[in-house]
């Protein structure tokens, strides 16, 4: 007799839920091997009653080498074990084939090679939880009534053992579920954008409940909308709306009561057939739970077609409801965050428009001045005054043009138009441009070039703009007669980058302002500044794939450093 576990075949699991611990099987196997040895029999089976399916199931067996033997469930009244279980009475038979007590049909179907047997009910106090059966023995010796008594005694112990194992198993399961829920709760609440979150919820629901498909519907006014579906044709399903109260989803959304549908193809199952038609998915069984936030039901989660079982049960409701509660909170949170971001965006747009209006207003103020002066010049017939007035007006025009150009630069995403040149050329051009103004203020400008850089590929016009902007700013910041501005170029080690540095000894920038430096419309220059210069510079540098940095100390000076790819 081979007692090794790997010879034992299991046909049915004992516990209700689909996640029975292997340990329970091991225990039953161990019990069976002990019983076989103790009673010197060929085969032993333990049947346990499954209250969920309302039938006696074969939990573990050894010794019956029947590949063809399939005993999914035994109705209590259709077998020896069945009647033992039903009547709670033990049975002993040494000639099963000819024993009148047993149904012949049953014999044919289930017991064709059984000739001797002993069976006892598994009694736990007054409750019967199954039966144990011993069949055949290698020797020709009959089973005796003495042995029957022993079996009855053993059966009580088996019953207690089974019950203990079940309780333990259930505890482990609950614990595992609880841990899973905690993990899920944490996962679900990591900051996620709404679409990601919804996807995560359906996929997790399907995994958690070991199902082929799942969907999530959210409530909008008086209907439910399919937000995401897993396992079904997502795009088809997304167009569907389920009115409240219609179908399972609609009813659950209204009542808040979780619902199981065991056989979806029967009439009156309540399934909204439209969905199956559109999604090309056939629902066999389904579990639907509400997504609840405090008193409000914001939608439902459904799982369909359980993989390892014929349907869903109470435990599954508990599990999915727990998950759905966390999911609902996470959804609400994500929705609120989205609303807040929207509001912030609108506010930013508002601020930008205000900023724009402000800049333009400044320029038009200047234009008004020009107009007045030109008018007066005509009145007074004063050509000198006319020249002045006209100059101011022209300048105003130019300012508007530049402003518009700057705005376009910031708002458009463009590729820089690069050409090969010497990086120093741009600096020379900037110095030429700013020379007169610098002389007026008696500020010195020095340059220092690093010849190691060689030729580079840059958008000359725009880099010129950037440098001019930085040097102008430096000039504004410098004190008359004392100011010194240094413009340097340098090569960056180990990277195909080079850089410009604009260093001045002007009044510097406070730490606070340094943070706001590159923001649109930030300016310290009163009505003269548009606040766009550095913004534009920043945009241009970024378009090149470069970096810009500011280091400054109040009253000591400022250094702007730009790094750009050399383009080779």
């Amino acid at each position: 007799m081979d007692l090794f576990p790997n010879k034992i075949k299991f046909i049915k699991r004992a516990t209700k839920s689909g996640q029975a611990s292997i340990k329970f099987q091991d225990v039953l196997e161990a019990v069976i091997s002990i019983v076989l040895t103790a009673f010197d029999a060929d085969g032993c089976s333990i049947f346990l009653f499954n209250s969920q399916t309302d039938s006696l199931e074969l939990a573990a067996t050894f010794g019956i080498e029947t590949e063809e033997w399939r005993v999914p469930k035994i109705a209590p009244d259709k077998s020896i074990c069945g009647s033992v279980f039903k009547n709670r009475e033990s049975v002993l038979s040494n000639d099963v084939k000819n024993d009148g007590r047993f149904d012949s049909a049953a014999k044919k179907e289930f017991m064709f090679n059984t000739y001797k047997l002993m069976a006892a009910p598994l009694m736990l106090n007054k409750k019967c939880i199954g039966a144990v059966e011993i069949i055949n023995r290698p020797s020709s010796q009959d089973f005796s009534s003495q042995e029957m008594k022993r079996l009855i005694a053993v059966s009580k112990k088996i019953a207690v053992l089974v019950e203990n194992e079940r309780l333990f198993d259930r505890c482990c399961q609950k614990l595992h579920q609880r841990n899973t829920m905690l993990d899920l709760a944490r996962e679900v609440n990591t900051a996620r954008e709404l679409p990601d979150l919804l996807n995560f919820i359906v996929i997790t629901a399907a995994e958690l409940l070991n199902s082929e498909a799942s969907s999530l519907l959210l409530r909008k006014d008086n209907a439910l909308h399919f937000e995401v579906a897993f396992g079904k044709k997502g795009t088809e399903v997304k167009k569907l709306t389920v009115p409240l109260g219609v179908g399972i989803a609609g009813s659950v959304a209204l009542s808040g009561k979780s619902t199981i549908v065991r056989k979806a193809d029967t009439e009156g199952s309540g399934i909204f057939k439209e969905i199956d038609k559109k999604s090309g998915f056939t629902t066999r069984n389904l579990l639907c739970v509400p997504l609840r936030v405090k008193e409000r039901i914001i939608g439902v989660v459904e799982v369909m077609n359980r993989r390892d079982k014929e349907g869903y049960n109470e435990d599954d409701i508990f599990l999915l409801e727990g998950f759905a509660n966390e999911a609902a909170l996470a959804i609400e949170r994500a929705q609120l965050i989205e609303k807040r971001i929207q509001a912030e965006r609108l506010a930013a747009v508002g601020r930008t428009v205000a900023g724009l209006a402000h800049c333009i207003k400044n320029i038009t103020n200047a234009l008004k001045g020009g107009e007045y002066i030109v008018d007066k010049a005509f009145r007074d017939d004063n050509p000198t005054l006319l020249k002045k007035g006209w100059a101011i007006t022209k300048q105003g025009s130019e300012r508007i043009r530049k402003f518009v150009h700057d705005m376009l630069t910031i708002s458009k995403k463009r590729e820089p138009e690069c050409s090969v040149c010497s990086p120093h050329e741009v600096v020379t051009q900037v110095v030429q441009m700013i020379d007169e103004k610098a002389k007026e203020k008696n500020v010195k400008i020095k340059t220092q070039f690093d010849e190691k850089i060689g030729q580079v590929k840059i958008d000359q016009k725009n880099i010129f703009r950037c440098l001019l902007n930085l040097v102008s700013n430096s000039l504004d910041a410098c004190e008359e007669n004392k100011g010194i501005i240094k413009i340097e170029t340098f090569k960056v080690d180990e990277k195909p980058f080079f850089g410009y540095r604009v260093i001045d000894n002007g009044y510097g920038i406070s730490k606070e302002n340094q943070k706001k430096l590159f923001h649109d419309f930030f300016s310290t220059k009163g009505s003269q500044g548009t606040g766009l210069g550095l913004s534009v510079t920043h945009t241009i540098i970024r378009e090149h794939g470069g970096f810009i940095r500011c280091d400054s100390e109040l009253d000591k000076g400022t250094t702007f450093t730009i790094e750009l790819p050399t383009g080779h």
Binding site: N365, K368, G370, I373, L385, Q395, S527
Partner: protein
């Protein structure tokens, strides 16, 4: 009407175009204009030639406009010179200048901003309306 004839106005503004503009307006009234582009210069010019009215732009770098205003009001010789404040925007300074100047609740803030509880005598917003400016000046000088 030339009751403003030969009166002297000090225009303090860092924007040359603005100075030209106001000068043109005042010149039409036959007034004389001296100008300064920052607070320090303004104080200098005030000491050199005591003006009959000061037109002061507050939106200048380093708050030199406000600093100048403080100095003025704390000086016995100059505190009675009427000051007309010109403002470009309240947004930039982050302070609603008009209410700051004229509303009582802002006494503390005013003191902080201006350094003094004194108020400018008049307040106009850019773009300057020539007629309005002239009327205000007449109010202060003829009285």
């Amino acid at each position: 009407m030339s009751d403003l004839e030969s009166k002297i106005a000090l225009v303090v503004d860092d924007e040359p175009a603005q100075v030209e503009f106001i000068s043109a307006i005042l010149d039409d009234q036959k007034m004389k204009t001296i100008s300064a582009s920052n607070g320090k210069e303004a104080m200098q010019k005030t000491t050199e030639t005591k003006p009959d009215v000061i037109i002061l732009d507050l939106m200048m770098p380093e708050e030199s406009g406000m600093k100048f205003f403080n100095q003025l009001k704390q000086n016995k010789d100059y505190e009675d010179i009427p000051v007309i404040v010109v403002s470009g925007a309240s947004q930039k300074t982050g302070v609603d200048l008009k209410s700051l100047i004229y509303e009582e609740e802002f006494a503390e803030r005013k003191k902080k901003a201006f350094g003094t509880e004194a108020k400018p005598d008049a307040y106009i917003e850019k773009p300057v309306d020539p007629t309005e400016l002239v009327e205000i000046i007449k109010e202060f000088i003829s009285s």
